[in-house]
Amino acid sequence: MKSKATFTDSHVEKKIKVKRPSVRYWNEPQKEDKSRDGENTGEAAVQQDRRAKKRKQKDETSAEKKLFSEKSDPFPGSAPIPKDRLQKFKRKDKITKPPRHYRKLKQVITRSEEASDLALKQAARFDLLLPEDAGFLEGDEDEDTCTISQEDIAEAVDITSGAKYFNLKLTQFGPYRVDYSKTGRQLLLGGRRGHLACFDWQTKQLMCEINVMESISDVKWLHTDSMFAVAQKQWLYVYDSNGIELHCIRKFNDVLRMQFLPYHFLLATASATSFLQYLDVSTGKEVAAICTKTGRLDVMCQNPHNAIIHLGHSNGTVTLWSPNQKEALVKMLCHQGGVRSVAVDKMGNYMVTSGMDKKLKVFDIRALKPLTSYFLPAGASCLSLSQRGLLSAATGDVVQVYRDVWSTPVTKPYMAHRVRGSVWGLQFCPFEDVLGVGHGEGFTSMLVPGAGEPNFDGLDANPYRSAKQRQEWEVKALLEKIQPELISLDPTDLGRVDRATFEQRHQEKVQSLGFDPHAKEKFVPKFKKKGRSSAGAVERRKKQVAHVDQRDVIRKSVEDKVKMEEQQKRKEAKKAALSRRKSALDRFKK
């Protein structure tokens, strides 16, 4: 494997402002606050200052609560939390309080409200501990950021960041599929003509490199960086990071695209035979195999928010699938031509599709409504969304990156870069400002400022984790594995009360079991000898037990009725007695 950084002449002058160095916690906090949250928070902070001053004055004027050391607290109470930050962690609206007389209910509700309030406030407070800030590219006046070349950026940034821009010239085994591991450290390359390589792309340390001697349609990392799945010509294979073939899964044939659901340990595959299959990686079992009946499935993506698989079809529709349902949860008509690529953002709010009709469309996937539609001259063949919401679209051999596709109408790309061959695979590297592009002539790692999430969760996906940490994480992740049954369009469904009726539930049970567990056995009269099992006798015996339940019910209802009547009578008598006595003072009358 040869790696070579290609430097072409830059077609722009070096007038760029590049990604600012990320702000550290030892910098002044106020400055950071302003820079991060913009003017709004700045104003808010000022207001808060004012409020704090006011409070302070009030405190001073009113009864001063002094400490033993005769000093009063200049900032009494807990520090205020900005509203927008609270909003960020808000889960759901509070419920209106119940009427007062439900004491127990009131108590429960107030307690849970208190707890959630505390959780919210604490989370908002601890947001302060996320010191890293995302950078962005800013051009001079009259300068489009899309005209800034990668070389210029690489030159302007620090050496380590600059080293993240590189090209791998791999002309032999042509167009490459790309996959970054969950932590963003490892890169997996799968050439169409059988070339397979995985390496730590930052240190450029090769872990393995083989040729499977078969066409490869897709590659995907599994839950750790020591296993990956490869969709080869016939079967699905699993290799470890040393290139040793672990499994050949014959149940999964003609796989074209794969997605890995990290929290469910599910590998979802879409095949040329229009099968969508789910493989549980932790147990090795096939969870579901769904025949979509929509032809060749070569467009696939997952919704990271709810683990729903999105499939694009040649009739311009996008379908949403879960392993629990044999039919598509949702079918959307998105394009007039076939769908070429689909991508869903990290929060699960927006879906971006590109079609044969050379359009790029943004949908609100929660409301299933189209938001904006763009026309790309060449149409986008590959789409990828970054953690921070940057959209990369490949049109032929040009990779374009867009910002804020859903919030503001975009007229030109944020960045653009021409690669050597036509693009085949495209993915943003998690926690890095890097976009990996697999194309006909190899692989290109692009610098895209502001793409990656600057703050990583050390317990979830830690790019700097040690082997020990990785092992611990694996155990924990397996323990916290989410069952495939819990995949649904709305992940909060689990917290809902099942409002199905008893009958509905019973029906479902019968369906799942194949028989009715509560059904009563039919009475079969015993065979008796000496002519006592004659037809008439049998009928008579049957008659004895016929409608026993019904008879019981009737008897009971009659008894109840009698009892009720008695009670009624008693009550009436009592009432009459009470009404006869008119007032408490009657007893004094002679």
């Binding site: 629990n324 959307m332 394009h335 026309f375 049109t395």
Partner: protein, 763 residues
């Protein structure tokens, strides 16, 4: 004669009940009668004509003394009494009403009014009710005991509920809060060590100066503790009453000394045993060491008893008695007694001591002679007392029972037969008990009134009568200097009586109201409800429903017109300028002929396909009509014959209309209507207890508990265990101090809540 007095009294009672201000018009002429009435006069005399009466009485007494025979009996009485004792009577001076009336008719001095009155009396032949049976009597006693115990227990109720509701309980309960203490507290806990310091502190202590920075000096506190004038007056009145009671008891004791009945002494012994127990209790309070010894002795006796089986039914004597018991009442009684003794002896000793009672007794000083039930629990329920609210309200029958008990007690006092002596004494006991209880209750009422004038005291009407009687009693007793305070009392009582009357009226009204409520709640009337109530609410919403149903289709139609599939797909698009034109186009695209063709014919085909599919799905979800008519069944069949319309209608089954589809207003979307049954086993299927609707429950579990989503502090708070016990610490039952502390806490909280509610509107 005794009978007469009895009748008199009851008559007077009823009069007073009717109009308390009126005085019974009784004129005394005869000598014989006046002896009896002398005592009565004392009771009934009022303030206004007190002087004359007293003079007259003196005269009468002087005349009576000439008789000589009854001198002795009268001398026994050291204080004025409400009730005549039957023990002062002898068999030979038994008088009949008719005799008396006969003499009156002979004497011309008697007024017509009196004669009429007496005639009326003669005509009425109401016999005196017999005393309560032993069982009933015991039941009443048990009732009283239960109420006392309940009151005792109910004191703990608030602290218990408080603990039950507490988010977390840390055992042992009364722990010092861990963590840093404010420096003030730490300094307060400082001890004097050097000799100089010790000397200073001893000086301070000697002069009753505050060592710590207290609000009040001990002297000040003492003065605050001192009672105010009214309280003093009340106390004094109480003491007077107590003195009167004491004289009663002295008289009683004197009487009892002379009784020779065996049975009576048996009863007496029993009482003595009880008294012993009481004394023991006292001893426990005063001298624990001696009490312990006593307890040991008792325990040993009990153990012996338990071992010996002495008083059980297994003995020879007992067996013989058991055989006899069927026929002989005496044997039965003896057996019962033995069993009782056994029960008493083998019972485990329970000593319940309350400090408050002790204090009260100490305050009163001369209560040695008084029985313990002076401090008994209040018999009547007091609605103003929060401790009593939780219990069931008293039955009217029970109240009646109580009344009858009183009456019979008095009746029994009138009975002079020797055979009924025992019962008489018993009855008397109950009578006195009732009196004492009354005093007690009245004292409590008074306190209540003082503390809370607005509090409504619910009481029976009869009570008021008795109260009046007692006030009269008191007036007769007390000397002039005390009269001032007591008149205040009477006023108060009268006020209570009036308020009672009002109450009675209001209570009745409230009872009616309650009944109205009850009617709806009761199970029986549930059947009646559906005929009446549901019709109203149902009628109201239906027109709205119809309206909305009418509106909805029109709206949806509009919507449908508004959003068309084609429009959705051919929405105005923004053209993006791309700086770098792609040089290489996808080779794959060119290869795929079918895709190219589809691209060429893009548009209508895709859209119409989708629309068709959607329509198909919609049709699938629509309700289907199942026709089960069998042609030729029950009527003529054959070619060209159709089943009748009626029959077809009858056998056609319509399924319910499903709710509107989720993709109703989304033309370019098909949403599956299938229920996701995979998740149902993991969902909560029925609403947990305190929640009323799913929304409340769902919002209560909206915040995750795990460490993945929360800070450490939040997790710890949200997963706080309900009960925490300290390892190795002894968890002791709550002490009385805890109760006081809890009360303080509760009151403080209440106060704070009040202030909160007050401050909130100001915001």
């Amino acid at each position: 004669m005794a009978k007469v007095s009895k009748i008199r009294k009851s008559k007077k009672r009823s009069k007073v009940a009717g109009s308390s201000s009126k005085k019974p018009p009784v004129v005394y002429d005869d000598e014989q009668e006046e002896d009896v009435c002398g005592a009565e006069e004392d009771v009934s005399s009022e303030e206004d004509d007190g002087e004359d009466e007293r003079k007259r009485q003196k005269l009468l007494e002087a005349i009576g003394a000439l008789g000589g025979k009854r001198k002795h009996a009268l001398a026994e009485r050291s204080e004025a009494a409400v009730h005549m004792s039957e023990f002062s009577m002898t068999a030979d001076d038994e008088a009949d009403l008719s005799d008396l009336i006969g003499t009156i008719e002979k004497t011309p001095a008697a007024t017509a009014q009196t004669k009429k009155h007496l005639k009326n009396l003669q005509r009425s032949k109401n016999t005196v009710e017999c005393p309560l049976s032993k069982q009933e009597n015991e039941r009443i006693q048990r009732d009283v005991a239960f109420q006392k115990a309940a009151l005792e227990v109910s004191r703990w109720q608030s602290i218990i509920t408080q603990n039950q509701r507490a988010e977390q309980l840390v055992f042992p309960l009364n722990q010092e809060p861990s963590g840093p203490k404010p420096i003030e507290q730490v300094v307060m806990g400082w001890e004097a060590r050097t000799p100089l310091e010790k000397e200073i502190f001893s000086l301070l202590a000697a002069n009753k100066q505050p060592i710590l920075d207290a609000v009040l000096t001990p002297a000040e506190e003492a003065s605050v503790k001192a009672m105010d004038l009214e309280q003093v007056k009340i106390r004094r009145a109480e003491r007077q009453k107590a003195r009167a009671l004491q004289s009663y008891y002295e008289a009683k004791a004197r009487r009892e000394r002379k009784i020779k009945s065996k049975k009576y002494h048996k009863v007496q012994n029993k009482a003595k045993r009880k008294e012993f127990v009481k004394q023991f209790e006292e001893l426990v309070k005063t001298d624990p060491a001696a009490a312990l010894e006593e307890l040991d002795k008792m325990e040993r006796a009990r153990m012996q008893e338990r071992m010996s089986l002495k008083h059980q039914n297994s003995g020879k004597w007992a067996k013989s008695k058991a055989i006899m018991a069927k026929y002989d009442e005496g044997a039965r009684k003896a057996m019962q007694q033995q069993l009782e003794v056994n029960k008493d002896l083998t019972q485990k000793l329970v000593t319940s001591l309350s400090k408050e009672e002790e204090e009260e007794e100490e305050g009163e000083g001369n209560t040695d002679m008084l029985p313990d039930f002076v401090n008994d629990a209040e018999f009547k329920q007091d609605s103003s007392n929060p401790w009593m609210r939780g219990r069931l309200s008293e039955d009217p029958t029970e109240m009646e029972l109580k009344d009858t008990m009183d009456v019979t007690a008095e009746g029994a006092s009138a009975v002079t037969k020797e055979a009924e002596e025992e019962e008489g004494s018993e009855a008397e006991g109950t009578e006195e008990d009732a009196l004492l209880r009354e005093f007690d209750s009245r004292r409590k009422q008074r306190q209540d009134q003082e503390s809370d004038t607005s509090a409504v005291i619910v009481n029976d009407g009869d009570d008021g009568v008795e109260e009046d009687q007692v006030t009269e009693d008191k007036v007769a007793e007390i000397s002039d200097e005390e009269e001032e305070g007591l008149s205040e009392f009477t006023r108060m009582y009268r006020g209570i009586g009036k308020s009672l009357e009002k109450d009675a009226g209001s209570k009745d009204g409230s009872a009616e109201l309650e009944e109205g409520l009850m009617r709806i709640r009761s199970v029986d009337d549930v059947d009646l409800l559906p005929q009446e109530t549901p019709t109203e609410p149902q009628q109201a919403p239906t027109p709205q429903h119809q309206k909305s149903a009418e509106q909805q289709p029109s709206r949806s139609r509009k919507r449908k017109k508004g959003i068309e599939l084609r429009e959705v797909l051919t929405k105005e698009t923004k053209v993006i300028k791309v700086p770098l034109a792609p040089t290489v186009t996808d080779s794959e695209e060119k290869l795929d002929q079918r895709v190219l063709i589809e691209e060429a014919f893009a548009g209508d085909d895709v859209i119409s396909d989708f629309a068709r599919e959607k329509r198909k799905r919609e049709d699938e979800g629509k309700p289907k009509v199942i026709d089960l008519t069998l042609p030729g069944w029950g009527e003529w069949g054959g070619l060209g014959l159709k089943p009748s319309k009626r029959k077809r209608r009858r056998f056609r089954i319509r399924t319910e209309v499903p709710p509107p589809r989720k993709d109703q207003h989304l033309p370019s979307v098909i949403i599956s209507e299938k229920r996701n049954s995979a998740i149902t086993p993991h969902q909560v299927s029925s609403l947990p207890f305190p929640f009323e609707n799913p929304a409340q429950f769902e919002s209560s579990i909206r915040t995750p508990l795990g460490r993945t989503w929360n800070t450490e502090r939040t997790v710890k708070k949200m997963t706080k265990p309900r009960v925490v016990t300290q390892l190795g610490a002894i968890i002791e039952p709550m002490a009385d101090e805890q109760l006081l502390k809890g009360k303080k806490k509760v009151s403080a909280r209440r106060r704070s809540r009040n202030t909160k509610t007050r401050t909130q509107p100001a915001k």
